[in-house]
Symmetry: D2
Subunit: 386 residues, 4 copies
């Protein structure tokens, strides 16, 4: 057992999810790492102090610059708003800290590449927060595809649908401000689809896409507190500079075709992302809101009895499930973070490879930029040209 | 009650479906038209004679040129292979026959336009075989959208998935021969998605798409009998010149975004087409293999109790269902043709407008050509530019 | 090809379904029987004449006594109200006619047995209208169970749910009058579950059940026209003497346990019957409103990849589907009657066994009576004791 | 904020679930109780010491008699095997401890009643572990039914299906030993259905049921470690004295009818319990393996647009969901325990009523005994007669 002292920047949605994850490890997993929640960091002392207590952190800092230089900290976990990832990430790497960075790696492909270079140069472990890879069904899908159960992949179709900003009076929160988040539905939601497709299918080759902002101005908010922010009555309006919805098609390097969609304008879908993959030997389907299920079509099944199988991925034989409850007892969203942190912290103490790492962050940014360029140019963009 | 004498060209899959439809009308519908199955036409006398008997036609012809000049024929129904539609259609119009033409209208946009001009010039009724419009759930969807229940449309996503040609040894049937069918998955399957989107959402504005042939050569068959054709062992191979799969994104004239996919390479999907439409007041979802169901999300439902409603569209209040069975007794694929022929024949005898008509056939061809050009040019194509 | 002249008594819901079925045979099946719709019979001349024309019958009769003595009639098809089955059935048998009788065979077990004796004695073919056996998915289920794919059966659970009489103002139609229909939800709906369980699992041994009438009086109607009957405003009320809902558990002769429910008081369920069967090697599930689907769990599937398979039973390899459309094109409720009539008429002309026959009708009545007695006695009833 | 010192007896499946629950409270809920995991108790010192460390307990005991007399302990949480509940529960009450007891309260109705008398007499808070009541969807269902959205309840149908003991070589674990667990599938699984029906519908009046042991002898195990126990090769066989499957029908005091089934012999069902309730204004459906969903049919919805609504119960407006993640992010099985412990501990520190309490445990035992007697007597049993 090796101690790992964690320092975390940020304490909102992701800060809570990560805190919970580190705390669950001891009870449910038998790894070599023992994680200490050493210090949490935020600019507002009152808030961060309160968060430290509530989330179980031993101490707190109000300066990330200080946090990353503390000798007792082994790992910097970055859950701050997207525009802060780059600066903190580079600095943490230069201070020799292992880094867990929430997605997106950075606001631009250029900055993402610099971050990747920094962690390589400083020889620190690095992982990026594509937590959905750690859903048992997605790990199972990866194993199945890797072992050839789907054969040659022909098609991928994935969408990530939400509906919380349809009302034009919904305010201009940080997720809608280009300077803070870099991208709208594409970077926030589409990024997960891109990463999952890379994980399961392979690298993107060519992109053709269309981006759109349906509601072009919204009430300005002064204080943002996540997605529940509300503007004052009669607040003045500001311009929305990110995409409300993005659709794109792609060809993959292995020849597969893909259709993708990310939007916050699909009524009835709260956090509904799904992916289907068709190969010449079978198919897989997954829907996040039913994250304990994987659908599998095996073209080798007996004729007349073929059909998509509904696999309830809660048996001990399924990835990570031995750690949790008996067969058929479902897990939830937050468990993906526990699995993620288990892999990250074990990779550090066992000195093995992390995955997904900053390279995956760079590749995701590259696809995002290709989609944006394709929409601007009204033409296909080859990912490798960026 | 007015008599209508039908003459039909073709006697395979669609010929059977249309024959059955005309025969069902009297028992289930109380219209003003009384349809007589006067003559069916095919080149092979033995086959067409046998089809005439089996399908209940009073007579037969082996020359369509003769059929369309028969004075006792009021309507020409064209279910022959796609490459014959143009010539027969023009000739039938010039002979003053009302025309029902299976999709596609023609192999090219140019030819489709000529056919449309011919029917206008000759003042005959004309309808095209987009039978899926006549699914009760789709008629209900149309009514709901027209009455504003979905509000402003933001997104459409539709796919049409089949899996019958995945095996590289599946032969080069007529549906894979460009000179006979004009297009592959796009024209055969995608055409339905395009028409349904036009029906429910509106006109396409801009297209960006990718087409692909996964299996580039296949065994040649001598005799084609639909999708069950088999090649001889050791048959020589011919080149596949149509698309195996097509994916595209689109912007509509009303600003909505769409994602589309048509493929015969999606294992586990036999004839699985679906469409979902999201507006700023609600959403609709439909899956053909569950054609008796429509899913509806109403954003005005009580907070906390919102969710997609699973409407079983088999009640007497649903479109066309009064004609069939009591509530909850499902109908099937062939019923779409009965509804289609009911509307077509009533429009003739009542001298009202047909729908969908050859204009809809032209517009569908226009979108298909835009997709093809976009894929070739690797760039966006504006539909109106064609 | 052998001619079969049909005479049918009754022309409402079932009369229409049977008429349609006989007419579909020629186009879709290649059997040895050629069915002529010779005469339809009903008491009201105006109505039956109109029905004859609409449903395609060559002639009509207003006296069933006359119909069954006509020398040109080979088959009597009884779709009249339930209380008429017994008398017509016995008489038809004594006149040497082959008989198709809609369910229930009779209003009592005793009468059902007499009908069975009559057909045996007169050596005529006899079939009973358990049309749901002829759903392709149910035929497939039967084949699977017979070939051992489910192993030893342990459990059956089945329910038949409707919701059309929940409103206390819904009138006292014939289906709610004990002297006409004999039984309420049990005889109308439960009978199908009982027959399907006998078909798939085996004979019932012991029953424990509860029956209930939730709405004990309803407005009287003078003229009944099926389920759409409406009473006049202020109509006087009559007593409901049949069950609104029936629930029972059972043990089968092979040791399996069953749970059953039939009701017209389940909101949201129009004609929703379902059955699930669990054996020690696998399981099957079926829901009628999705009648083109069968769910199959195979306990021999690879560990970790097990799950219920969703079989879309619309491929050419599935029972009866070769007769209809290409893979994935769904069929509907009325097709069950086409299959049923195909089997019945072929059995006559080929002199083979019919199934389900009047013996099956007797056995179903026996279980129904056991349920009724169990509810009255508040105790278990062994089926064989009746 | 008030401190509460917990002492827990047992450290296996439920011990882990409860430990996790107490620990989650601080981060996710803002209650008045602050729970300290003071001591965990088990007979084997090595095991309990290890569990204490892994699950985060400050100390441990090897004698429950000692634990319940410790002055620093406020609450005794009983997760020990079922046969120990009675003795520990009575003793804890007599020592003035608040008690949380896992289900079943006791092995007999008589003992359960004595436990209930003991907590009343000693004026301690008491709750029983029917954790499924705390699923957000079930709380929502309760609110909906209480506010009249379903109207008068007519039907309940519920089943709890598992499949882990189908293999006759599966060993005779404690859950199959009558002296340890009292009952088989009925007490283990059926108890949840009974409690949920009491919670949502009301009290049971009359029962008719059948119980069955499909596999009557199984290999004996020496050491039991939950459901993963394995017997040695060639182990001798012992008699199975509990039910493998139980089916029963019921009438409720409010007149509703119910069908129930509990079994461990339903292949393809790991932990699949479900309940549907039909009232004369609407219906609700729930399936545990999709515990983040509730299906609702509202008979007042617009005609033609009626259908079961699929409510994804993960919005902030849904019970307990404000504590967790943004809309659409699913929770899992273990969250039910967090909610349960939140309610229990808040009831203690705020001196409000607990629910479900030992009275609910007694009533559940009463129904269980009625089912058992009905099966033995082959006759209806009125619950109140026991």
């Amino acid at each position: 057992m090796k101690e790992l002292n964690i320092g975390m920047v940020g304490y909102k949605f992701m800060g809570k999810a990560h805190s919970n994850a580190y705390q669950r490890l001891a009870m449910f997993f038998d790894g070599n790492a023992h994680c200490n929640l050493t210090a949490i960091c935020g600019r507002d002392e009152e808030w961060v102090k309160s968060a430290a207590k509530k989330y179980g952190w031993a101490g707190y800092e109000t300066s990330w610059e200080k946090l990353i230089t503390r000798q007792d900290i082994d790992v910097i976990d970055i859950t701050a708003p997207s525009d802060a990832h780059y600066t903190i990430g580079i600095a943490a790497a230069e201070n020799g800290k292992h880094i867990f960075c929430e997605k997106p790696l950075a606001l631009s492909l250029k900055n993402a590449r610099e971050m990747y270079e920094a962690v390589l140069k400083n020889k620190v472990k690095h992982q990026i927060g594509f937590n959905y890879r750690f859903i048992p069904a997605m790990q199972l899908a990866k194993q199945m595809i890797s072992s050839g159960k789907l054969g040659t992949i022909r098609h991928v179709r994935a969408h990530y649908l939400q509906d919380y900003i349809i009302d034009p009076e919904f305010p201009l929160i940080w997720r809608l401000q280009k300077d803070v988040c870099g991208s709208g539905s594409l970077g926030d939601l589409g990024a997960h689809l891109i990463d999952m497709s890379r994980f399961l299918v392979g690298e993107f080759k060519t992109i053709m896409g269309i981006q759109k902002t349906f509601v072009t101005e919204r009430p300005v908010v002064e204080m943002m507190t996540g997605i529940t922010a509300t503007a004052k009555e009669g607040a003045k309006k500001g311009k929305v500079e990110v995409d409300d919805g993005t659709v794109f098609v792609a060809e993959f390097e292995n020849g597969a075709l893909g259709t993708f969609e990310a939007t916050r304008f699909a009524h009835g879908h709260k956090n509904d992302w799904s992916i289907e993959i068709n190969g010449d030997k079978g198919s897989l389907k997954f829907v996040f809101e039913r994250m304990n299920e994987l659908w599998y079509f095996n073209a080798d099944d007996e004729s007349g009895l073929q059909g998509f199988r509904h696999i309830q991925t809660n048996e001990g034989v399924h990835p990570y499930m031995q750690a949790w409850w008996p067969a058929g007892h479902v897990i939830g969203y937050e468990h993906t973070f526990v699995h993620e942190m288990y892999e990250f912290t074990e990779a550090i103490v066992n000195d093995t490879a992390t995955s997904p790492d900053f390279y995956d962050g760079v590749k995701c940014s590259q696809v995002i930029e290709a989609v944006e360029l394709s929409s601007q140019r009204r033409a296909a963009v080859d990912v490798d040209s960026l």
